[in-house]
Amino acid sequence: METKDPNPFMNRLKLKEAMYLMSQGEEVDPSTLNRILQTVVPNPDSKIRIFLQFFNDSWKVLMSDWENATLHTSQLALRGQGNLGAFRVHRQVAGRDLDFVFQPNPEKNQVFLSVEASNAERLSAKLFLDGTPVETLPKLGTQSMFDSPITLDSSPELAIFESGKEIGRYHFMLQS
């Protein structure tokens, strides 16, 4: 088991203690389960959650609309020169082909996001933080990178617009 406490003795003791406390607890009944689920599960929306994880020297990308599927950076096409460590994820949004390009910093605690699109005319993108727009790319393809990074503490949302109408929304989270 990987240790949380650097002291293996304390880890073993904490586990014994936790197992004892678990034996003293109660199973969850159906009504309590439903009540808890209402508070922990986000309300259904059309937003897609994209979760970037840096573990064991590689990036893993999870997406809420891909059932049981994850992408590891070793499986991703890395393109571009001088873009060491960047990786891209291809998405189709309302029939449009979009690429999200993720550029991590060397410390792996920030990831810069670019949005690239073919047939990009009339497409724009806006980045939201806590529901407030913080940055806009008025025309995709020409200046596609956002200055505000995805960080461990902030989980921005990206909205894609076509002729001013929202066609897709993504919520990014980072764990490293």
């Binding site: 014994k16 936790a18 197992m19 607890g25 199973e27 508070t39 922990v40 503490d153 764990q175």
Partner: protein, 189 residues
């Protein structure tokens, strides 16, 4: 097993209902058991609800901080979260009782028992010295004293360590004797 717990947590982070359902069914006993150890019985349900709320705060930030891949590591992690929330809830209950004047006797006790900065420092020094002494014991004796310091009764310690209560009492006595001798420098660590 390791892939299973990592995948469960990942799916919870993506906000998937089935994953949360499984997580709650697997770990509710642990959360309730931990809360029940630290807060009064009538506060257990509310405190356990608070644990779940904290897990979801800031886009599941607490869950995101768990980087392990094994079930035991997650059990320890969740136990620590539930313990910290319960302890802070206990302090908050005491403060509320004092503010609202529900229990004047208790409020006076709290005021009387309030430590000065100097007291806090010396208490910390003593504790540190004591923990240093405990460190020199062997594991079977050390674990009993640590659990006693965490407020467990001997009967509970016997259950945690899965040894007869007689063994716990005997080891606790031997440990105390050794600590005393170490303190008086009768023996060396």
């Amino acid at each position: 097993m390791s892939d299973e717990i990592r995948s469960l947590i990942d799916n919870c982070l993506l906000g998937k209902r089935e994953a949360w359902q499984t997580l709650i069914q697997k770990f509710h006993r642990l959360i309730i058991g931990t809360c029940a150890h630290y807060v009064p019985r009538e506060e257990v349900v509310d405190t356990s609800q608070l644990v779940y709320l904290k897990l979801t705060e800031n886009d599941y930030q607490l869950l995101r901080k768990f980087k392990g891949e094994s079930l035991p590591a997650f059990i320890i992690y969740l136990n620590e979260i539930a313990k910290n929330i319960s302890m802070s809830q206990t302090r908050s209950i005491r403060r509320t009782e004092y503010r609202e004047g529900i229990s004047l006797d208790l409020s006076i006790d709290i005021l009387d028992g309030r430590l000065t900065q100097e007291d806090v420092y010396f208490e910390w020094e003593e504790k540190k010295e004591f923990y240093d002494l405990i460190e020199s014991l062997d594991e079977p004796h050390k674990e009993i004293l640590i659990l006693r310091l965490k407020g467990y009764k001997f009967k509970e310690i016997a259950a945690i360590l899965e040894v007869p209560i007689g063994t716990v009492l005997a080891r606790a006595n031997r440990a105390k004797e050794k600590i005393k001798k170490l303190q008086t420098k009768e023996i060396k660590p």
